[in-house]
Symmetry: C2
Subunit: 405 residues, 2 copies
Amino acid sequence: MIRPIQDVDLDRLARLLLGYLVEPANRELGQLIRERGPVSALGSVLAGHASAGLCGAVAARLGAEKITGSARDLSSFADRAETRAARLGIRIITPDDAEWPTQVDDLVRISRPGGLAVDRDTDPPLCLWVRGAMPLNEATERSVAVVGARAETPYGGRLATELAYDLASRQWTIVSGGAFGIDASAHRGALAAGGTTVTVLACGLDRPYPAAHASLFDSIAEHGLLISEWPPGAAPYRQRFLTRNRVIAASTLGTVVVEAGLRSGARHTLGRARLLGRSTMAVPGPVGSAMSAGCHVELRDLGTRLVTSVDEIVEEIGPVGALAPIPRGAERPRDALDPAVARLLDGLLPGPARSAETIAAEVGVSGRDARRGLPLLVAGGFAIQVEGRYRLAPAGRLDEAGGDT
Amino acid sequence: MIRPIQDVDLDRLARLLLGYLVEPANRELGQLIRERGPVSALGSVLAGHASAGLCGAVAARLGAEKITGSARDLSSFADRAETRAARLGIRIITPDDAEWPTQVDDLVRISRPGGLAVDRDTDPPLCLWVRGAMPLNEATERSVAVVGARAETPYGGRLATELAYDLASRQWTIVSGGAFGIDASAHRGALAAGGTTVTVLACGLDRPYPAAHASLFDSIAEHGLLISEWPPGAAPYRQRFLTRNRVIAASTLGTVVVEAGLRSGARHTLGRARLLGRSTMAVPGPVGSAMSAGCHVELRDLGTRLVTSVDEIVEEIGPVGALAPIPRGAERPRDALDPAVARLLDGLLPGPARSAETIAAEVGVSGRDARRGLPLLVAGGFAIQVEGRYRLAPAGRLDEAGGDT
């Protein structure tokens, strides 16, 4: 059913206002919206027809903004917010917009009462502030989260950059936070490949955090998108990063942790991906590196898949059947030999030629098997026959690197 | 049923002779011995009552040694072999000896026709040549294989040494090959801890291979054991290393690969452990290191367990329930806070004190929740109250490292 334009506008207005008045991910508010729609939900929390905690939080915000809950005040506040956002090059999108990334609504699955995320609310975003030209749904349709420690090592930084570069080169969008370390390295890799990258901030888009990333964020907005659930002006509080992580996990088909300490926001994001049934991946690193310790726990104890290359990441998130080739060493000529014949090769010396019988006794086969097999080694270029005796051909030594490889 | 001494002696003689006459692991011979006993099996292969391949191989060896199959010749050959071994400080043990490591007989499970190991025969050893004072069964009762690449990196060498040192310190015996690289590093770690270590060679114990390890092998024989299925004089052929690997896997409760290239004998040993149902473990390393590539394939695609410490190895091979603690980061004071209260902490500034209402609006809770929660933060030492307003206590900043950890 297509609703009248007016309702959509009111829904959008209500979501925008609720986005200012309530911290994101609130399960109670999400439930109200799903039951009654955004406009009615807004009315309820303004009229005190919801929990004391939720109504009180809304009242506190209204008081701080010095606005009443009257329709005129609210409408004028929303107008100012839209105008201010537009001036900053920021647009506001809601589930009614064509570019809404519908995959984030999967968060409802883990947010319902009795849902899986017990540590905090994980409801889908009410609306998103967006900076950058590309439609958000297109940007994230084929995307993977590449996240990790702020305190990246040179090893981790190089890998994050390379993996993001390779993914972006194959038209995968990178999604990450805006932090120092792995997040920034991943964005830089994607940008270097001329690809699309999306930064999910935990504060207003007008407040680049960390401030040193202001120009990085400008590049990202030019070639990809900056998005946030928080309106302009919102500060980057610690709890907001934890709330934000669910959006990174829900926007993408899978999350790759490149480096993570034992206590790491990246592992929190991976946990959200796991709850959502998205692919969870981690890159191994040197034992003893604190920045790989979190990855190793994930790989050992939490069912996270080990990945070392773009092929292996795409195997997890790509179309079914896109299996990464299992890495194999180079084939060697002797691989093609029948094991019984390969055994004879052990009895050949580079120096003096020996009889088939001597070679048979040496390697423990019958004289007949030796007389049958040695000509095959000659034909294969492994052996040279000299007056009915056999010695190793120069080519046969090529992979005689000893047995204990 | 206790058999007469004489039968045991004859069985031992037959096994010793068969150990000279037939390459180890031969499935057909093992089957004959299980059906008829070693004496009758020896008689069969000497009389040509077995496959042409097996009988011909025995005939070739007899010819090379210039002995007939007569009882007198064989007995005299065996006497000389025993005397020669004794002079070298080597004893010969068979399943009739108390120190026989019965766990190696599990190899029958994968060796039977229709068994799992299809690439070559994997029958249990017929007998073992042993150098060193400790009974072999005691040495290997509580043992773990630590194996890996010859071309170890400094990283892998250090880890092999440390893990073997730690395992040996906890009274675990190390079992490995005698190669350069990881094998030698593991033995050295065990020796440094004053522990027991066992080297399984793929040649005669009188022929140290590689020769540069002669003095290492002397130390191992002094503090542990050198063992082989091949009699003195046997050369270290490539195929013998592959045959030998099953003994390393079968002697131990599990196999740890520390470093391995994609084509690695260590992975072959791990495959044997897998077929036997022993624990299979691998240590991760830097992506991009060729010497960790084999480990990563094992961890990704073959169900090998990732291990980074002795605790994690012991969890795999130790008594049921000896779970390694999952590594955790240090606890921080704010971990103990209720999430709703932790949220208030975000609204406290180190500078000016703010009212409960301002803080409530800032972090998105009700004024009432703020007035209830802020005193808890004061009590916990996170906040300071100044004339009814609140600011961050110096201790509260201790773990204010920002959110995007």
